[in-house]
Structure formats: structure tokens, C-alpha cells
Amino acid sequence: MNIDRRQFFKLSASSLGGSTLAALGFSPTAALAEVRTFKLARTTETRNTCPYCSVACGLIMYSLGDKAKNAKAEIIHIEGDPDHPVSRGSLCPKGAGLLEFVHSPSRLKYPEYRAPGSSEWRRVSWDWAMERIAKLVKEDRDSNFIARNEQGQTVNRWTSLGFLAASAASNETGYLTNKICRALGIVMLDSQARICHAPSVSALASSFGRGAMTNTWMDIKNADVIIAMGGNPAEAHPVGFKWAVEAKARNKAKLIVVDPRFSRTASVADLYVPIRAGSDIAFLNGVIHYLLEHGAINEEYVKAYTNASFIVRDDFRFEEGLFSGYDESDPEVRYDRTTWTYELDGQGYAKIDPSLQHPRCVFQLLKAHVARYTPELVYDVTGVPAESFLKVCELIASTAATDRTLTSLYALGWTHHSVGVQNIRVMAMIQLLLGNIGMSGGGVNALRGHSNIQGLSDLGLLTEMLPGYLTLPRDHETDRAGYLAKRTLKPLRPGQWSYWSNTPKFHTSLMKAWYGPAATAENDYCYDWLPKLDKPYDSLRLFDLMAQGKVNGFICQGFNPLASYPNRHKVAGGLAKLKFLVVMDPLATDTSEFWQHYGEHNDVDPGEIQTEVFRLPTTCFAEEDGSLVNSSRWLQWHWKGAEPPGEARTDIEIMSDFYLRLKELYAAEGGAFPDPILHLHWPYRKAEDPTPDELAREFSGYALADLSDPADPARTAVKAGQQLAGFAQLKDDGSTACGNWIFSGCWTEAGNQMARRDTADPTGMGIAPGWAWSWPANRRILYNRASCDPAGKPWNAKRTIIEWNGRQWSGLDVPDYKADVPPGADMMPFIMNPEGVGRLFCADRLADGPFPEHYEPFETPLGTNPLHPKVVSNPAARVFPNDRAMLGGSEEFPYVATTYRITELFNTWTDHVRINASLQPEQFIEIGEDLARELGIANGEIVVVRSKRGFIKAVAMVTKRLKMLTVAGKPLHQIGIPVHWGFMGLTRKGYFCNNLTPYLGDANTQTPEFKAFLVNVEKDMSEFMPHSHEPGQGHDERRRPEAGLTPATGQASWLTRILTGRTEV
């Protein structure tokens, strides 16, 4: 406290005077003690859900005013919704600070425009901005639209404009965005899923049939053993992690954490095991090896419910790190997968050997494949201490018993690798071997990272996707019949449901929803209006093409790619080559100011950047109605609590305006392939602003003609114009419209199912079937038929989810099975798979192999692969030549780095939120004590971390929590790099961790290898080199204590210090 002498006397005198008077009995009796007035007494409460991660905690927003016409609602407080079955009133530090998101000083209020070469924003009107955008977009589309490819095939695609969709936008926004983008022929359409959980969709769908978290958040409490590996749920999903802690406290569960860094999850674990980043497959194949060696599997489950007994073609091979069919000539597709399939009999069914003895049955092939992964190899490759590895194996093996389950909680620690899909695949296989899929307390639980990225995946906002996991056609798929035939999967075993046999119904109904009366049987339901792909235009390709100057326009909706994509310099270079960039966001993102100079943190010259930039202010979660899909597939409706600031508009309004202007231009002037634009079905009451209700009804589906009841054809089940009850009612004759078949049933004739808020959990097992609505068909635990043995008896009677009642399957959950097929029938529980069973061997689906194999990260600290030195890293991964040249080696960059989120912050969003900024104000990295000692780095010092691609400067946090490992006989150090800081917002300015990361990704999904790359670390010596820093920015300030830095510590008075003997100032 800075008090001068006179102030001290004054203060002392008043204190003395006060105490003297009090002592003499002159108490100020009028000042009765009163608690602070309760501030919520007459506020209006509105229900919402948190916009950050996919736990999707319930919120109650309290706003001033009672909604009277003359009162303007203003949100004054947000806290947890105690009814919410997952969160039960809790919120993490981000959710608890949401008020400051709504009222962030970074909220955008007006449309803004940055002219080419300018270094400032200009406020513009909506009309001006939207007119200019529509003009630029039309010009580019008309010049660059590709109607036919070189072979003369109709492709109708547009590859010079990219679009990134918002991971926190509602389903209604996402659906409309996709509808408009595809009508324009945009193929470079992608979303956050590409850089987060795309591998989950791929791995889980190829193992079990659906690409989503298998169980629910609350169900985690039923687990006996929990393994958090490839994820850090305490930090990334704190409220969902509640149920892991609950499992420990109530179910005596054991929590295992396997992570390069001792995380907050590890702080409450029973067993923490350090591991080398990028070696998870070696570890987990070692676990499979252990389970098979010790016979610790649920044999009956494995025989009945997996493809263990299926016989694989005799020309399938795995040798020297390569599967059969490898061909290096095509840089995009390295494997011919013909041999990765089953031997079929004359009827087209796969041959099986129920005894599992056939040398080419999947079980025997798997045994041979993992035989190399002995405990010794695991220690050598992963650096995991021997005794820890065996302890983990024992705990996992204990859940082979039918009355015990293991649950796997993972997130980006597995997806962010060049082997992302296969990391997840191994766990899927382990859970199938143990019989833990379909079980309460089991599952492979992909913890999605954004509030609606599951929804955006479900709605197909990815380059190659359409809603409901339908896919866009390829160039050669010139006719609809062939396209559908390939995607209409016939059963591979007798009696299987193989639900993808219904593809024509899903696809036809989608086209009816998009093109309405224009889609007819005669024109193949506008099949040719869908853009066709010559290759997937994922967003890594998008930024690569952008860096080559081949992309002209880019629309960025609720996304901050400058911070989020690997090798920031490449991305920044690409943005600078654009003709125009449109940013739609509630906050002033780093991307929107990529052209602005921010010292060393964004070292660019605005004068050299000719990109026109539009910044459009959008509403945030609190200011709109709509639904989001949480990680466990719940569609939860949320409600608007206040008006947006300034002139901000909803994304739906902006997208509609954008579309209607283009439609008007095409109607007036014509242009490249206008048909899909002119005939896009737009049945909304207010064309310029469709309501979320209308859009939700459309993707849930409605009848276009009277539909008869299949059980009684004389009776009409659904009248024309009515909402469908679910996807079972879809037709392939154009008599139903449904924008996303897996969401079908979310809005029925009974109303909005997503708005349901029944808290009842009848058995206390963590299934609240009346809370919101879960895809598919309100099923909460996927594959739940597998919770009973083939004879229909629950494996664990204490955790019965569904059972056969003599006539049909029923119970707590909606059966994920044909309800009237009795126990003992041929039909197996994995109804989406043509085999009917879970896949240990992933036949003909993945780009990099039917079994997971350990490949080194592309930047490997070993320089070789101990299993097969000739094939070091994933041979099927796509690496662009320029990016390969940007990979570093261990001589120059000796340390393994990994990136992650920390609890207090959410990507770069919370940089704009005052409360959260105060909880983690400044960028830091974590470094082990051993390495710090070696490099002479003290705790709290500034260090420079360099990779081949760039550098960051950050505070070094020296910790015991990152231990040196011994890998391949040599010491190995790992560095932890949290991802959150940028050059915008309220935190101290930081450097994007993506200055460092390599630009390459998983072989199947191109999800970047953010979690294992090489760096070097050194002390920051720049303070000794004058003029190397911009003054007043970032870390600099700490070296100049006079620069107005406010100590965060409240200090006691001088007198107090004397009294307490504390003399430090």
C-alpha cells in the first residue's frame, strides 16, 4: 500500500479516534449488522446450456426486469441449473465466469470493414457489408465454379472459397449453414471436428457402427475401473469428471491416469503412469497382449458379439510394418484395401469359425499381431515403468468379469496424432475383448471438446459429409443409383439388421428437405446438385491451398483458425493471400485481426496485406434459442435470456441474408449453375430470419403425403404436413422430408423433445430418459442389447438396462435393437454394422490398417521405430511436401513437446473473459525439474521454445510433475505447452502454441499431430538485447516493475505488519 507520511497520520488518527470513541462507549448503534441484500430476489430466470465444452452443463441466467415492455433485460448473474442431470448445479471456472463472456469488452457490436492495406477498422452498416460480401462471393463463384471435371463428369463444385463452421453454434445454425453452402457448391466446408474429434467419429464408427461417445456422463459413476488416457477430463471436462469422482466415492472404483504429464486428473487418481507422448498404441497393444496371454477376456461376448470368429482373406498380410496393398505412388491414398476383408461364402456372407481356432480367423490374427508387444517392448518404446504397466494391466483385466466394467475417458490426447484413429481403435478393441461395450459403466467415451461439435459432426459440416453421416459423392459416382447402392450395406451375416440398408430413405428425405418440390424422382432428387469430390477438401488442405494462393474467399463462422491450426506462419501467410475474409463472431478474435501488427505476437505489416476483411457481430448462447448436442448425444434446447449488444445478429439471420442476396443476384443476373440456389427449399415464415423452431422441425422430419401404418396399411399413421415420430417412418419415394435422419424424432407431433426437462432417473443408474432427447431414437447407452448375453440374460443383473419381457425388449433405456426380435435370434447387437458385431479387425474401412500398429510421431525423438526401422511413422499419412521439409530432428530439437488445455481457460475464447483471465493471466510452459536443472532454468523465468516452424516465449513452470523417462535406453524429457494465449483479449499477450506445431495429421481424418513434436528450450536472453521487444507487451512488463504492474496481493497495513511480525513489503 502506498501511503505517504501525512496519510499515515490521518489514517492512524482516525483509527485511534474511532477505537477511542468505541472504547468510551459511543458505539454507532444505528449501524446494525445486515447481510448483503440477496440480489436475485425478483430477477427473471432463463434456462440455457454452457457454450464451452460438451458436458453442456445446465445454466440458469438471471436477468433484471420482469420482461415488461418498458424493461430491457440485462443478464446480471449466471449459475448452474441444479436440475440438470449431468451438472446438478455445478459449473467449472469457465462456466462460473460466463457472465463476463456475455458482457466481455471484446463483444462485437457493429459490422466492421478493413480495406486492403489499411491498419484500422471502419464501422459499416449491415446492408453495406452484406451487399459487398454477396457481390464478392458471386464474382468468385461465377469465375471459378467447376461444373464438369476434365473427364467431362458433372461435379458442380466450387473450390476457391472456404468456409469454417462454428462449433458452438446451434444445430439450427449448423443445419442451415450446410444447406446453403452445399447449394452453392462449396466443398471446402469444415468445422472444429477436423482439428479435434474427427478421429473419434472414424474410429468408433468403424468399430461399433456409430461415431460417438457410447455411454452418458452420469453413467461413468457405474464403472469399477476408469482409465483416463489420451485425455485429461479433470481439466478439460471438470463437471463431467464429477461422475468419475463419484464412481470412486460410491462405487469404490479405481482411477488410472496415463499421461505424459501429471495432470489435475492425476491429482485424484489411484494410479498415475507417465508415458512418452505418441506411444499409446505400443502401450495398449501391450495391454491386449497381456489380456490374451492371461485369458482375461469375456469369451462368450467375444465369440458372439465381435468379429473374432470371422475368417480373413488368405492374401491379407502384415509384414515389416506394412499391411498388404501398400503402394507409395499415390500421395493421398497409400493402401489398396482389397485384402483387408473377410472370406465370403456363396451367399455373400462372411465365413466364421466359432471355435476361434482357424489360423486366419480374426482372433488368431490379432494374437499374432500383438505377440510382439511384450512388456519389455512396452517399457522400451513408451518409457512406462515396468511395475506400473503391469498394475494397469491387472486392473484392466479385472473387468473381464461380467460384474465389473472398465470405462475409457479420452479426448484429444488420442486424436491429435498421426495415428489418432488407431489410438482409439485399440481401446475399442480392448473394451470388446472385455465385454464392456453396451454395458452400464463401460464404453469408449469420447469426450467432445466444444458445446456443439458433436452436433456439427452429426449435421455433416465436414468436407466429405452430409447430415446423418451420409457422404458426398465422388466424381466417378455419376448416377444416383450407383451412389446409393455403394452406401446401402447388405448384411454380412444371416439375420443381421444392418441399418445402413436404409440409406436411400435417409438420402431421399434429405434431398426433399433441401430442395422441396424441385427434388423429384424424375430428376433423381436433384442428385447432380450436390457437389462431387475429386478429393476431400479438409481444412488442412484448405489452408495449404490458401498458402499457395489458390483460395480467394474465406468465411469464418465462430472459429479462430489463426490460433487453432498447426504451423501458424503457414496459416497467417494464407490469410494474407485471400481476396476477402468474412469473420462472424461474438468476440474480436485473433483471426479477425490477422492483418494488424501486435509486436512480436503478430509481427505483420498491415500495409502489405491486401485482404478485404469483414467482421460481423453475432449473438452468443445467451441471446438465442436453439439446440446443442452434448458429448453423449443429447440434444438440449436452450432459451434466449437477453437482447444482443449493439447491432449483433444471429448466425441464422446472417446466413439467410447472405443466401437471399445471392438468390436475388442470380435471379436477376444469372451466373454459374444457379439452379440449386434458385430452388433451395425455403419455406420459412419470415424468409430473412427463419426461426430455430422451423429449422429444428425440418431436420427432425415431416410427412409430405399421408403415410400408412405398416402394421395396418388401412390406417394413416402420419398425415401430410405432420412431424414424423422418428427415422423408422422415413421413405425413399419422396413422401417424407428429413434434414438429418439421426435427429429424426427430436421434434414430433408431441412437440419439442429437446426441451424436455424431466429429471427422473427411475433406478438411480444415471439414465434420465425424459431429460432432453438423445440421438438415435432417445437411446442413452449405445449397443445396449450387448448388456445381455445372447440368451437375453443381463451379464450383470445389478446393472440391468434393458431386458426381454417375453414379447419385446424394454427397460430403462430405449433398446438399441429391433424391439421384437427375441433372445437367441441371429441378429446381433451392433445393428449399424453389416456384420452385426463389433469389429476387432476393421475390414475395409480405415486408411492405415485393420489393426492398430505403433508408428512414431512424424517428429520422433528416436529417429527410428524399434518395431520396424524401415517404416518409422504412419505410412498412410498425407504430408504435403512443403510441410515435410518443415519437420525437425532430435539433434536440433531434443525434447518432446505436447500441448493441452488447462481448466481455467477455454481455447482462446476465455482470453476475453475477465474472471478467467485473472485465474490464468499469462502464458506458461511446464518443464521437469531434471531438465530445468540441466538447462539452468529457474522457476518463473522466461524461456524460448523453438521448433523447426517457429518459437514461443513463456514463463517456465518448473515442476516435479514432468519426469524424465528412459526410452530405448536413453533419457527423454518432455515439455508441456498449454494452448490458450493469443494477442487479443484481456490476458497478457502470448504466442500461439501453433507457432510450433507440425502441419500434418491422422491418416484417416487429417486431424493434426498437436500432441507429439520436437522442440528445443532455452532461457530468454532478449532482455539483454535492447530493442528486440515491443515495450509494454506480454512478458516484458515483469522486468520493469515500475511499468504500472499491479501486485495481485492485497497488503496489510504497516501497523499490522509490525503486530504480526511480518516485515516483508
Binding site: D4, P28, P238, V268
Partner: protein, 290 residues
């Protein structure tokens, strides 16, 4: 809410006894350190509910931000890394007011009604009566109250007395994601703690126990610790906290003497003013002090 003021057990620097007739339930916050993941939801919820905003500080090589309790941060996660029996542990303790049954701050406070203790156990500061002398800081065995630079008054956790008064749990309790924070009657909280201690002992934490120190008459914020025998591991949680002897002396022998001395000083000052007039300051004096 006004009703709550009747349920006051003690008021600082006041000799008039408080009404004693009503029986109210003693409440307590239980902090189960063994379930805490250090997420800081409690810190966030505390700032939000109490309309406080912490400064954007710096990182000094720790997850602990801000670095200490402040007039804006009434609760703080304190992080400590330790190795116990060869196993690394990251001990994270939520620090803040313990709401002692025998509150040293209240005892030390010379300003009437600036510190009160409700019959439910909450010790609350009423800043409108605070004179900023800082004696409560000296009196606190846990080093919790913080003097504000802005208004020279002392602030600390109120246990959300405004929420508790209307039948709600404190904001931090509600937010806590892992149920490391629980709120209820002190009796229930002790029972809950005992359940947790049984579980911890089964998991090999033989010295797990409840922290409810007798030296301050017990507290209305208690901890479940894995190592109850070594509270100092948790960022120097005091093993046997007691009220500082300085406070006892001040309140005991010194008080009547000091009162007389102060009365005399004031009297002397009064006569000086009447006979000589007020002290004048000159510009130099002010400049030198700047």
C-alpha cells in the same frame, strides 16, 4: 434478511449481549481436499457472485493465481507438489476464511459491529463499520483477511451470508464440479467427512482425517486431508492454530490501560486545540512526503 441480524451471536467491540433465545443450526463448509482437482470454479464463482474482479496478474511459475488472497479474491486454490512414500502428490487446498467458532479477527476488532458472528457460525465482516485498522488481520491465525487498497477496509469470505440467509448454499459450494465442497449442518458435514476418511483409509491413506482445529474452538470450514498428521504439507496449513498472544494481551491487560491512555491523549489534544489552535502544514512538508 433483516431477520438474520437478530441471529447474531457476537459483535466486535460491543459489550451489550446478543439475543440468545433462538436456536439456529450451525452450518459448515467441508472441503474434501482428496476430491479437489484445483479447477478454481470456486474462485470464479466467488468473484462472480460477490461482484468482485481480480486484477490480471502474472504467472510466477505456479498454477496459483492470484498468488495470494486479496480483497477481491476471498478464496484461492493453493498448489503444492510433494512426494510421500515415493509417490508424487499434487496437493491442492482451497484457502479462505475458516469461520472459527472462536474468531480471532472478531476478538481483535476495535470497531463496533465491523465483525459479527451469526449463531449459525458464519463470521461476517460489515465493511461499513470497518475503520481499516487491520487488527483483524493480526488476530487471524490463518492469515485470511485482506485490506483493500481502494477503500482501506478489510475483506474476506462471508460464506455467502446473503445466500445462506435465504436458504441457499454458498456460491463456491454450488459450483464445485467434483463435490469436493459440501455444505450443510456441521453435524452432517462431520458425518460426511467420516465416510470419506473411511474410503481414504481403504485406499492406503492411513493418516486421513478431519481438520477442525480445537485451538480456535473448531471451525465452520473444515478439511478432509489425506495426511491429517501433516497439515503443513498443504501450503502451510497451521497444525495447531491459536489466536495470536498479541490479541489476547490487547483484549486482556492492555485494553483498560490503553483506553485510559487514549482518553488522556484525546483530552490533551482537545486542550491543545482550544489553547493553541490547529496544526498548520506548509507546502514543503507535502512535497517532501510525495
Amino acid at each position: 434478511m433483516a431477520l438474520q441480524s437478530l441471529d447474531i451471536l457476537r459483535r466486535s467491540a460491543t459489550t451489550t449481549p446478543s439475543p440468545q433465545q433462538r436456536q439456529t443450526t450451525e452450518v459448515a463448509k467441508l472441503i474434501d481436499v482428496t476430491k479437489c482437482i484445483g479447477c478454481k470454479a470456486c474462485q470464479s464463482a466467488c468473484q462472480e457472485w460477490n461482484d468482485l474482479r481480480e486484477e490480471i496478474g502474472i504467472n510466477e511459475g505456479s498454477y496459483q493465481n492470484p498468488h495470494d488472497l486479496t480483497a477481491n479474491s476471498w478464496t484461492l486454490m493453493r498448489f503444492a507438489e510433494t512426494e510421500q512414500n515415493g509417490t508424487l502428490e499434487w496437493l491442492i487446498r482451497k484457502d479462505g476464511c475458516m469461520h472459527c467458532a472462536d474468531p480471532g479477527c472478531l476478538k481483535a476488532c476495535p470497531s463496533p459491529g465491523a465483525i459479527v458472528q451469526y449463531s449459525n457460525g458464519i463470521v461476517d465482516f460489515h465493511e461499513e463499520n470497518c475503520i481499516g485498522c487491520g487488527y483483524c488481520i493480526a488476530g487471524c491465525p490463518f492469515d485470511v483477511p485482506r485490506l483493500s487498497k481502494k477503500d482501506s477496509k478489510v475483506y474476506k469470505c462471508t460464506l455467502c451470508s446473503d445466500r445462506v440467509a435465504v436458504g441457499l448454499e454458498p456460491a463456491c459450494i454450488k459450483a464445485c464440479p467434483t463435490q469436493a465442497l459440501v455444505f450443510g449442518s456441521k453435524e452432517d458435514m462431520i458425518e460426511h467427512a467420516n465416510d470419506r476418511i473411511t474410503d481414504l483409509k481403504e485406499r492406503g491413506f492411513e493418516n486421513a482425517g478431519l481438520y477442525d482445529p480445537a485451538g480456535v474452538g473448531g471451525t465452520h470450514v473444515m478439511y478432509v486431508l489425506h495426511h491429517a498428521d501433516q497439515p503443513q504439507l498443504y501450503n502451510d496449513l497451521p497444525k495447531d492454530p491459536t489466536i495470536s498472544p498479541v490479541v489476547s494481551v490487547w483484549k486482556g491487560i492492555m485494553k483498560p490501560l490503553a483506553t485510559a491512555a487514549m482518553a488522556l491523549t484525546a483530552l490533551a489534544g482537545f486542550f491543545h486545540y482550544v489553547t493553541v489552535g490547529p496544526n498548520e502544514t506548509d507546502g514543503d512538508d507535502e512535497e517532501h512526503s510525495a
